[in-house]
Amino acid sequence: MSGEPVRYSPRVRELFAALPRAGSLAAGAGTAVHGESAALDRGAWVRFEARIEGGRIADCAFRAWGCPHTLAAAAWLAGRMQSAPVTATKAAEVRELAHEIDAPAGKLGKLLAVVDAQEALLAAARAVQ
């Protein structure tokens, strides 16, 4: 309970405060898929859920347990995947994600869990194409 506290970027604070796309998918047409990564040893558990319709991610939501950086990264990625074409969408790079939310290097392991969950989601989405 001592030492230098973690500093959060304005982007992390903003995403963490709003947690856009957190929770369940809204009802709608299309096929529901999900991708998950539970890296409890790294302190992160992330699940993306999406509805696939017409080769696109018609809707995307996330659920997560982890630090503010983990939740912020998952929220940002869920937003970026919204309406994206399934075949052309690639999983994010961890460093790109860290740059986007201005996360410190010590958080890269947690962000890897976010990227792993996204990769799992995209694989599931391609499978129902």
């Binding site: 230098e4 604070r13 302190g43 010590g106």
Partner: protein, 396 residues
């Protein structure tokens, strides 16, 4: 409430400076007659020395000690290091075994580790499930070559109380020095080193009592006086144990804080204990949750709570601006390191990450407790609403 409008529940880390203490310190700083070196023999020096003497008496009175038994330091960490390193290094080379526990503050752990590197054996006692240490465990660990027992009276994370009077009796009977880390207990629970003469050394500081940061005290028993090897060399201040010109205004603040706390010691602990239990009840809507530690025997102001499915760093940020508290993990250097104290109590790393230390003090009100509980319950529910399926059951 703290200055930014949030409810301050981190009194175990530091207490807000008492207004009376601040006034006493400002008066001291504004008085030119108090600016001289208290070690100087001229009139201004004697005036400063009189302020220091009064402060020393007030600090001693808080723990039932005569003024002459108080050595001023820069804080509890220095007092602890002087006590532990000083006592063991002054002991004969064939009698340097130390008894401590796995739930001590880092200052104690660090000093004992240093002694281990210097060749001392250290017995690390396992705690009770609440974080306290059983006197029987101390008795079983004592050896013919034991020089020192060093234990905290109140655990800084769970509030668990160790029966220091029983340990003191044991140490007196066995002729072993006892050092008590009283950083969390001085001014919170009764301490009388006059009655518990088995206590040879006792460390505490000002800033957890409503005094200023940067000043502490080490009680050194008068009879029989333990031998201590000083950590620093210099001008021979503080009976040769802690050289350096005394900071008069800091000591005046320390003394004032001790006097104020001593005046409320008969009533404040019961009031704070009742508030702590009220807080625990008010948090129940955030179930499933658990208590790290127990209601008794414990210091009045510390409540350590775990919330299933919650990550402590996120909970702290969710409470930012509403409640000031401490996480069960040290969230520094970007990596949350689970508390070794809670680990020693058998908690899993996930359960530790889900834990929050809430500590109350003199200034905490019923409204503070209700507001803090409402914020915490709301934050826990919000974070749980985003959990993956199964996480609530697994993270506990």
């Amino acid at each position: 409430m703290s200055g930014d409008g949030s409810v301050y529940l981190d009194w175990a880390a530091t207490a807000p400076l008492d207004a009376g203490v601040a006034a006493a310190m400002c008066a001291c700083l504004a008085d030119l007659a108090a600016q001289a070196n208290p070690s100087s023999g001229h009139a201004p020096g004697r005036a400063a020395a009189a302020l220091v003497a009064r402060a020393r008496a007030e600090v001693g009175a808080l723990i039932g000690a005569p003024a002459e038994a108080i050595v001023f330091t820069s804080g509890a960490t220095e007092s602890i290091n002087l006590a532990i390193l000083g006592a063991v290094r002054a002991a004969p080379r064939d009698r340097r075994h130390v008894v401590s526990s796995r739930v001590e503050h880092r200052a104690v752990v660090g000093a004992c580790r240093m002694l281990e590197r210097e060749g001392s054996g250290v017995s690390w006692l396992a705690p009770r499930p609440d974080g306290g240490i059983e006197p029987e465990a101390v008795a079983a660990a004592l050896r013919p070559d034991t020089a020192l027992v060093t234990l905290m009276q109140v655990n800084n994370e769970t509030g668990a109380l160790t029966d220091i009077a029983a340990v003191a009796r044991l140490c007196r009977e066995r002729g072993v020095l006892l050092h008590v880390d009283a950083a969390q207990s001085a001014g919170k629970v009764p301490i009388d080193v006059g009655a518990d003469d088995g206590i040879a050394l006792l460390s505490f500081c000002a800033h957890k009592l409503g005094g200023p940061k940067g000043v502490g005290a080490l009680y050194v028993r008068r009879e029989p006086r333990p031998l201590l090897s000083p950590l620093m060399s210099g001008g021979g201040h503080e009976a040769g144990l802690r050289p350096g010109t005394l900071a008069t205004h800091q000591l005046v603040g320390f003394g004032a804080a001790c006097a104020i706390v001593r005046g409320s010691l008969a009533t404040a602990p019961a009031r704070i204990r009742a508030l702590r239990e009220r807080l625990w009840r008010a948090l129940q809507p955030a179930a499933p949750l658990w208590r790290n530690g127990a209601a008794e025997p414990a210091a009045p102001g510390i409540l350590n709570v775990g919330f299933a499915g919650v990550e402590g760093e996120s909970l702290l940020l969710a409470l930012d601006g509403a409640v000031a508290a401490a996480s069960g993990a040290a969230c520094h250097s970007a990596v949350a390191e689970p508390s070794y104290v809670l680990r020693a109590l058998g908690r899993s790393d996930l359960a530790i990450q889900a834990s929050l230390r809430l500590s109350l003090g003199e200034g905490t009100t019923e409204q503070d407790v209700e507001r803090a509980a409402a914020h915490i319950v709301a934050a826990v529910r919000r974070l749980r609403s985003a959990l993956p399926p199964g996480a609530l059951e697994r993270i506990a």
